[in-house]
């Protein structure tokens, strides 16, 4: 099921339109919106991004499609067919470009094409139920191939770890001398600091698990030895005994 749909400009991450109602709790919604926002940020910085990608996040998937410097992004359930999600995005893209092609590059106001939400709403309803005849036939459409679309994890995409830490320091330094965006950078700070925490935690976890696996291997060896040592000793005693008897008596 489609939970959230956002259309944004790639050049600066400016949101252009968004579907109005969603099936998410308020808190969850804020979290995923924030993720979508940072995703746009990454897309606007990055070079050579694949034009279609699925990004895994929690119980959901972000699917996005980049066409003509505009990113069409939707948040779906894990179980929602990828094929339908991308067809949905393509439908949005065709209509959006048809309506607003000339103005996309020039607008400065966020949500300048807010009127597009009517179309988003309408299209979303068509795609809500995967078992309608229309959607089933779309699913069976052999010509539409989604297999080669890459799937990655959100943490991977947002580049946790070193990159984030660097970003954090960048943000804190830039926010101290820029006066206009304290609030926004504060928002990012908390976001990024939470990511940084996660990355720190994961580094520590990896290190600890390495130690644990070493120890486990060691323990395994010891257990092996302990298990077989008596048998080996008895056997060797018997063999030595046999050997001795032969050499003494024989």
């Amino acid at each position: 099921m489609v939970k959230l749909t956002v259309i944004a400009r790639i050049t600066d991450g400016l949101p252009l339109a968004e579907g109005m109602d969603t099936g998410l709790e308020e808190k969850e919604l804020d979290f995923y919106k924030q993720q979508a926002k940072s995703l746009f940020k990454r897309l606007s910085h990055g070079q050579n991004q694949p034009s279609r990608m699925s990004v895994e996040t929690g119980p959901y998937f972000f699917h996005y499609l980049i066409e003509g410097r505009v990113c069409y992004l939707t948040l779906c359930d894990r179980s929602y067919p990828k094929k339908l999600a991308f067809q949905y995005l393509e439908e949005l893209q065709r209509e959006f470009e048809r309506l607003n092609h000339s103005q996309i590059e020039t607008v400065a106001r966020p949500y300048a094409f807010v009127k597009f939400d009517i179309f988003i709403q309408k299209t979303r309803k068509l795609y809500l139920d995967t078992r309608t005849q229309r959607n089933l036939s779309r699913l069976n459409d052999e010509l539409y191939e989604v297999q080669q679309i890459m799937t990655r994890n959100i943490q991977e995409v947002l580049g946790v770890g070193d990159k984030l830490d660097r970003k954090l320091s960048f943000f804190s330094s830039s926010s101290s001398n820029s006066s206009s965006s304290i609030v926004s950078s504060l928002g990012f700070l908390t976001l990024f600091s939470s990511f940084a925490e996660v990355s720190q935690l994961s580094t520590r976890l990896t290190a600890e698990s390495r130690i644990f696996s070493d120890k486990a291997r060691d323990l395994n060896r010891q257990a092996l030895i302990r298990k077989w040592a008596p048998v080996v000793i008895v056997l060797s005693v018997v063999l030595i005994f046999l050997f001795m008897r032969r050499s003494i008596w024989g």
């Binding site: 400065a108 966020p110 807010v114 309408k122 926004s184």
Partner: protein, 898 residues
């Protein structure tokens, strides 16, 4: 009140005066010391001020407030010009001293900045009577009680015609007073001074007030770079921010912090320290601007306008024709609803059951689903209860067409408002919007059921009395809090003739920025026109969605209390789910412990909202006011409209937790204290026995306080108004703008027959003279109209010519004994046409509500008292004295020493 513009070019663009003194005119003679009086401003007078005695040399008062160097050259003529005659026009709330300072040399510094009124030197004092006339209004009142006959009633001050609608010219780069108006245009410098100003120190704020087309608020777009704001106090850039260091930094007017100017906003300064592009940038030259909000000001995309109608269809609503009129009106407004094509609309009707309507665009007829279980309402279908209007237009029209006929034979008397509200909030929970409730009976089923109260006279004058004016059931307050959180603004339309508990219902509107419209005993033929107008105005006026408002004050000043319809989200953030151009608020300020040392105090009102067209905007109003050390200047600069605006809200709020008696007393004491303080300032110098004195600016204060005490929310006791009427009027008063409030308190009274007959004889009378509001002027041979901004009351004298009545009302109804249900429609004759032209003209001044015309005949028991005599504020009534006696009483109280 406002001066003609030609006299007086508004000094819009002299926001930042030069720091050095410009050359002064060297010629004027040094001022004689005994003439240090400044004239009282003539702003409140429609007539020209009395001629100055020829002996009197030109005024020589130094600037009454603010350091001279601050305002030198504000609008002064080039020094080479001969000094112009002192203009009579008031400036900045009416201080002629501003103009004079340009022609006079600066006073010696020892005189201080604020020597506006200096004591006369012994031996050269002018005659006392002359002084008093020059300095303040005074009224001779015999101090002995009961012997007031020597005072002419006509001499008492009354508001001049049209004074309600006119505002003073904004000073400097201040926003227009229609948006933000302080009770006094002089902020006291210290606590002790503020304590001696006994009236409220505050302001009336009307953020979205309607402006004439040539004064629309300019829109400023900073693009993606973000709006320039102070980084500490978050004040928006305004004309009072001072740029320094070649334009690299700006000093915030509010908190005085030095901020960096963003790279792309830097501009060179001219020799006066002003930015060279100041004139091209509205945010640097004008007090009111609309900023386009960038991303950071949104938590979600701008919402579309949403209208949801919750309509009571019980038997009372159907019989009185409310349902029919409401449906017709909504249908006629569908094209005019703002925000096409995103506008959303939904309906829910209820009696003892809830009726949901699926308005899916693919249907041809709406589907109705009845939910009989009201204990725990749920939504029978997941969507299509709230639909996009442009898509489902035909279905919505079909519903509105059939709605009256569906319920035409409904006999259900119950009303399950509470459950209906719960269902509605869950339908609207995703987006929010405006919820219009049409309630015709007392809610009787499910949660939020209300019971009859306020019927016992003995409750009045006890501690249980104020409980009648607040919500009985906590359900309503909780529901209001929930609505505010979901961005739902509630407007309540109540209709019942019987008790509906408007106090409880109105709570919904009170906390969500809504309004309460009350039509007691609704009758379609008479009140239909008013409901149609009010509802279509509600649906089509400029509305700001999902708004929040904040006020920032300069150093040393803080806001203390807000009054109006809103919910406080944090200590200073007003949550307004839907606010429109007819909602005003008031705020009170308090001084912090520090002394105010600067010369100007700054205020900034910022309203962050989503316009109906789906743009997120910030409307910012900025004002600067001088800080003064002299009490007399505060009184001189007082603004009666704003004082009454704040006082009335205070009184209504007081009546919610105290007896009516105490609420009236509260205002009364404030006024008496203020007048006593004022008297004490002058009593030492002048013999004032038998005279009541008051500042020119506040001469109408006693009259308005008297009118306020006799107004519907505060009037009398049990007998004088029903609890519903009181509550509805109280809710209305809390949101009223200054012009409509003043009009309501002191209605206009016009003698109709003379005016109309004169006109038909060819005498070109453009506006009829206004009469004092006393029953004495009601001549039985005449016809009179009162206009209080809410309705017209046409009073017909007993011996009025029958032909006149027939011409106005039409021959059929002229003789009917019951005028209660007589609609006043235009007849095919000259008199009637002129009459309606007059009504139309008066209505045009007052667009926020439809003034319906009701007819009363002299001697009609009950109704005459209720409609006409209750408006006669100068007469005795409701336990309050007449205007004359009131003045005598005040005078006596002012004389008393505490």
């Amino acid at each position: 009140m406002a001066p003609p513009a030609a006299d007086f070019p508004p000094p819009q663009f002299f926001a930042r005066p030069p720091l050095s003194n410009p050359p002064l005119d060297p010629t004027p003679p040094p001022p004689p010391p005994q003439q240090l009086y400044s004239r009282p401003p003539s702003s409140m007078l429609s007539t020209p001020p009395p001629p100055i005695p020829s002996k009197a040399p030109p005024f020589a008062s130094p600037p009454p407030f603010a350091a001279p160097h601050q305002f030198q050259g504000l609008q002064g003529p080039p020094p080479s010009h001969p000094p112009p005659p002192p203009p009579q026009a008031p400036y900045f709330g009416g201080s002629p001293a501003y103009q004079q300072q340009q022609q006079q040399p600066l006073p010696p510094p020892s005189q201080g900045y604020f020597a506006g009124i200096a004591p006369p030197l012994p031996g050269v004092a002018a005659p006392p009577g002359h002084d008093i006339a020059d300095e303040f209004e005074s009224l001779s009142i015999s101090s002995a009680p009961g012997t007031a006959a020597d005072v002419k009633v006509e001499a008492l001050p009354r508001p001049p015609p049209d004074s309600c609608d006119t505002f003073a010219q904004p000073a400097w780069s201040n926003c227009h007073p229609r948006y933000f108006e302080l009770t006094t245009n002089a902020i006291p410098a210290s606590h002790s001074l503020a304590a001696r100003w006994h009236l409220p120190l505050g302001a009336v704020i009307h953020p979205l007030a309607e402006a004439p087309p040539e004064e629309q608020v300019p829109v400023v777009d900073f693009g993606t770079s973000g709006i320039v704001r102070c980084r500490r106090c978050r004040t928006y850039i305004n004309p009072y921010d001072k740029f320094t260091d070649g334009g690299k930094y700006f000093r915030c007017a509010i908190c005085n912090l030095l901020n960096d100017v963003p790279m792309d906003y830097v501009c060179a300064l001219d020799e006066q320290g002003k930015r060279r592009d100041a004139m091209d940038r509205p945010e640097l030259s004008q007090g009111s601007v609309d900023f386009v909000a960038p991303m950071e000001y949104m938590v979600r995309p701008p919402m579309p306008p949403v209208y949801f109608f919750l309509i009571d269809v019980s038997v009372a609503a159907v019989r009185s024709g409310i349902l029919q009129i409401a449906a017709d009106t909504i249908k006629s407004c569908l094209d005019k609803l703002p925000g096409y094509p995103r506008t959303q609309i939904g309906f829910l009707t209820f009696d003892s059951t809830l009726h949901f309507y699926s308005l899916k665009s693919s249907l041809t007829q709406p589907q109705m689903v009845v939910l009989a279980q009201v204990d725990d309402p749920f939504l029978p279908m997941p969507d299509d209860l709230l639909v996009n209007l442009s898509e489902s237009r035909l279905v919505v029209e079909a519903l509105l067409d059939s709605l009256p006929s569906i319920f035409a034979n409904n006999e259900n008397v119950e009303s399950a408002l509470g459950p209906a509200l719960e269902a509605t909030t869950s339908i609207m929970s995703e987006i929010g919007g405006k919820l219009l409730i049409f309630q015709s009976t007392l809610p009787s089923l499910g949660v939020g059921r209300l019971k009859l109260r306020g019927q016992e006279a003995h409750v009045y004058q006890t501690d249980r009395e104020p409980a009648l004016r607040v919500a009985e059931d906590s359900f309503y307050k909780q529901m209001a809090a929930k609505c505010s959180k979901l961005q739902i603004g509630v407007n309540v339309y109540a209709f019942s003739e019987k008790y509906t508990d408007v106090a409880s219902l109105g709570t919904l509107a009170k906390y969500t920025g809504g309004q309460v419209c009350y039509y007691p005993g609704f009758h379609a033929a008479v009140d239909g026109e008013k409901l149609t107008y009010d509802l279509s105005r509600d649906l089509t006026r400029e509305t700001a969605w999902e708004a929040v408002m904040r006020i920032r004050c300069g150093k040393g000043i803080k806001y203390s209390v807000f009054h109006g319809h809103f919910m406080l989200r944090s200590s200073d953030l007003l949550a307004l789910p839907a606010v429109d151009c007819d909602k005003a608020f008031s705020v009170q300020f308090a001084l912090e412990d520090t002394l105010l040392t600067s010369q100007l105090a700054y205020f900034q009102v910022a309203l962050l909202y989503t316009s109906s067209s789906g743009e997120r905007r910030i409307r910012v109003h900025t004002a600067a006011v001088p800080i003064v050390q002299e009490l007399s200047v505060m009184y001189k600069e007082a603004n009666i409209g704003a004082v009454v605006g704040v006082l009335s809200r205070l009184a209504v709020e007081k009546s919610l937790n105290d007896k009516l008696e105490n609420a009236r007393q509260y205002v009364h004491v404030k006024m008496v204290n203020a007048l006593r303080e004022y008297k004490n300032m002058y009593a030492v110098k002048h013999s004032l026995i038998g005279r009541i004195i008051f500042p020119e600016s506040l001469k109408l204060l006693p009259l308005y306080v008297l009118a306020l005490s006799k107004s519907l929310p505060l009037r009398g006791g049990f007998m004088d108004a029903t609890p519903d009427e009181r509550s509805a009027a109280g809710y209305q008063m809390m949101t009223m703008s200054r012009p409509s409030l003043l009009k309501l308190l002191y209605p206009a009274l016009i003698r109709l027959d003379e005016y109309l007959l004169q006109g038909s004889r060819g005498g070109g009378v453009d506006s009829p003279p206004q009469l004092p509001l006393t029953a004495e002027v009601l001549d039985p041979r005449g016809a009179f109209v009162t206009s209080d901004g809410q309705r017209f009351v046409l009073w017909l004298g007993n011996v009025l010519q029958p032909e006149f009545v027939a011409a106005i009302l039409g021959p059929q109804v002229a003789h009917s004994s019951d005028l209660r249900k007589v609609p006043v429609v235009e007849q095919d004759n000259d008199l009637s046409k002129r009459f309606h032209a007059l009504l139309a003209k008066l209505r045009k001044q007052n667009r926020w509500c439809h003034q319906q015309c009701v007819v009363v005949r002299q001697g009609e028991s009950g109704r005459e008292l209720q409609l006409v005599h209750s408006n006669m504020v100068e007469d005795r009534g409701a336990g309050f004295p007449s205007y004359m006696e009131w003045m005598v009483q005040i005078h006596r109280q002012v004389q008393q020493k505490i």
